[in-house]
């Protein structure tokens, strides 16, 4: 058994460093950007100016549809359609790009709801105070509301990220040799799926635990200003 572990670990760790972690990180960052945009589209009420209002409402309808679609269908199917389905529409993507798109859009859909509810939980009073000081909507968002919302959204977002790390295993279905797929290939030779799966689980657990530590660190850093309220 130890022999198997020692020979497989380097391969699995290298797959992890090469695919699992970059996929998770890149997709999460892009997903977060998408999530913030989507959340803002759903959150900001358009001005009455018709040239802005109708396009904005159309955009919002798209955002609503996007969030509904990606939250109510399985991630595996999303990846499959992006990789194998889009070519019939003339869009052919490399596996890695397809995976990044799939994971980002999926993460974006879930995270946008997290961010939107965090935005909603910043009280109207903060907006009033900022408007009174003649901040524009954009300035209020950037300087006052988003920083507070990020603080609130951090724990659920960290959970999403940890979930994403584990979900990268689905990338194997679009031909990416990520860590879990590598463990399956090794299984095909040593016929020890249970052991190899446990080994994979162990590696995921290590990464997730490290990420949880990072989360606690970030929470402590960003909660500087709420410390007083813990007393």
């Amino acid at each position: 058994m130890w022999h198997i572990i020692i020979t497989s670990l380097p391969e699995m760790i290298s797959a992890m460093l090469q695919y699992t972690i970059p996929l998770a990180i890149i997709s999460f960052i892009l997903g977060l950007i998408l999530a913030v945009l989507t959340a803002l589209i759903k959150f900001i009420e358009p001005s009455e100016n018709k040239l802005i209002k109708y396009p904005w409402l159309a955009l919002r309808a798209i955002a609503n549809f996007y969030v509904w679609l990606f939250r109510s269908t399985p991630l595996l199917v999303q990846l499959f359609i992006i990789f194998f389905g889009l070519p019939s529409a003339g869009i052919e993507l490399s596996p890695f790009i397809a995976a990044v798109i799939g994971f980002s859009m999926n993460t974006g859909a879930y995270a946008s709801e997290t961010i939107r509810s965090a935005l909603l939980s910043v009280p109207q009073d903060q907006w009033d105070a900022a408007f009174t000081l003649n901040f524009t909507t954009r300035q209020t968002l950037m300087k006052i509301v988003l920083p507070q919302a990020v603080r609130i959204a951090l724990p659920p977002l960290s959970n999403s990220f940890i979930g994403l790390v584990k979900d990268t295993s689905l990338a194997s279905s679009i031909t990416i040799l990520e860590m879990f797929q590598v463990s399956q290939q090794i299984t095909a030779k040593n016929y020890q799926p249970l052991l190899m799966y446990s080994l994979a689980a162990f590696l995921y657990a290590v990464v997730c635990s490290l990420l949880t530590l990072l989360q606690h660190y970030l929470e402590r850093r960003t909660s500087k200003y709420v410390k007083g309220s813990e007393a």
Binding site: N134, P147, G228
Partner: protein
């Protein structure tokens, strides 16, 4: 001077301000009194465009505005530039330090340099006795301290008028005194102020003019002397804090 004319504000079908006319003179302290729910906050917030009445006009120096028309960004900016609001619950920005709370708006909106903004902020903090709290976060301060900082934040914008909505009602009596003393100072320096308050002693000592609002109407508009020393029946009832029968209110 700020003048409101024929101002009507509705929430749903309910008229909260009923064709109001009122002036707020320059360099004076106007105190708005009235029972809970009478429309005091709505009136005050209309001045700062946080509330948009359905009709009526606002005249403010060289600016005049018709509430029933769309308001240009520029006009709204100019009006808010001349006014600053201090809220009942302070509404400091919890993610910014005390100093940043005061300097962010001058830097972002008035394009002051960081050095200038901080210099001014520190002078203001010194005036309210909080010079050493510049680097704390609002949540680390008491209510009275937070309210004083929110007054500094308002003053840092060099407004013509300061609007205050029950600035001390969330404070306990000793903290209240601290804040009221500072407002008294400002009043003495002829800062134009409009204050909604429930503290009659303070109203009496600081007001140049009293406006009494009930049910969206102005029932009194005159001097503190008239208000406190020659009250009408309704005002006398108000001053002695008559209770209502809630069961009747329910029906």
């Amino acid at each position: 001077m700020i003048s409101l004319k024929n101002v009507v504000k509705k929430y749903g079908s309910k008229e909260v301000l009923k064709n109001l006319n009122v002036d707020f003179p320059d360099g004076k302290t106007t105190v708005i009194l009235g029972p809970s729910g009478s429309g005091k906050s709505t009136l005050l917030r209309s001045l700062d465009l946080l509330v948009r009445p359905e009709s009526g006009t606002l005249d403010f120096g060289d600016i005049s505005l018709d509430y029933s028309q769309p308001v240009s960004k520029k006009k709204s900016f100019d009006i808010r530039k001349k006014t600053s609001m201090v809220f009942q619950n302070w509404n400091l920005f919890p993610n910014l330090t005390v100093l940043q709370n005061i300097t962010t708006a001058p830097m972002t909106v008035l394009k002051q340099s960081k050095v200038d903004a901080e210099k001014h902020a520190k002078i203001l903090l010194g005036q309210v006795g909080l010079a050493e709290y510049a680097d704390r976060y609002p949540s680390q301060l008491s209510g009275g301290q937070q309210q004083r900082i929110s007054i500094c934040r308002a003053l840092a914008m060099n407004p013509e008028y300061i609007l205050l909505d029950e600035p001390t009602s969330a404070l306990d009596p000793e903290l209240e005194t601290q804040v009221l003393l500072i407002l008294g100072e400002l009043s003495k320096m002829n800062q134009s102020m409009i204050i909604v308050t429930h503290n009659m002693d303070f109203a009496r000592s600081v007001a140049d003019k009293i406006v009494f609002v009930e049910d969206g109407d102005i029932l009194f508009d005159g001097t503190p002397d008239d208000f406190f020393n020659h009250p009408t029946t309704r005002i006398r009832d108000f001053l002695s804090g008559i209770t209502f029968n809630d069961n009747e209110a329910l029906k």
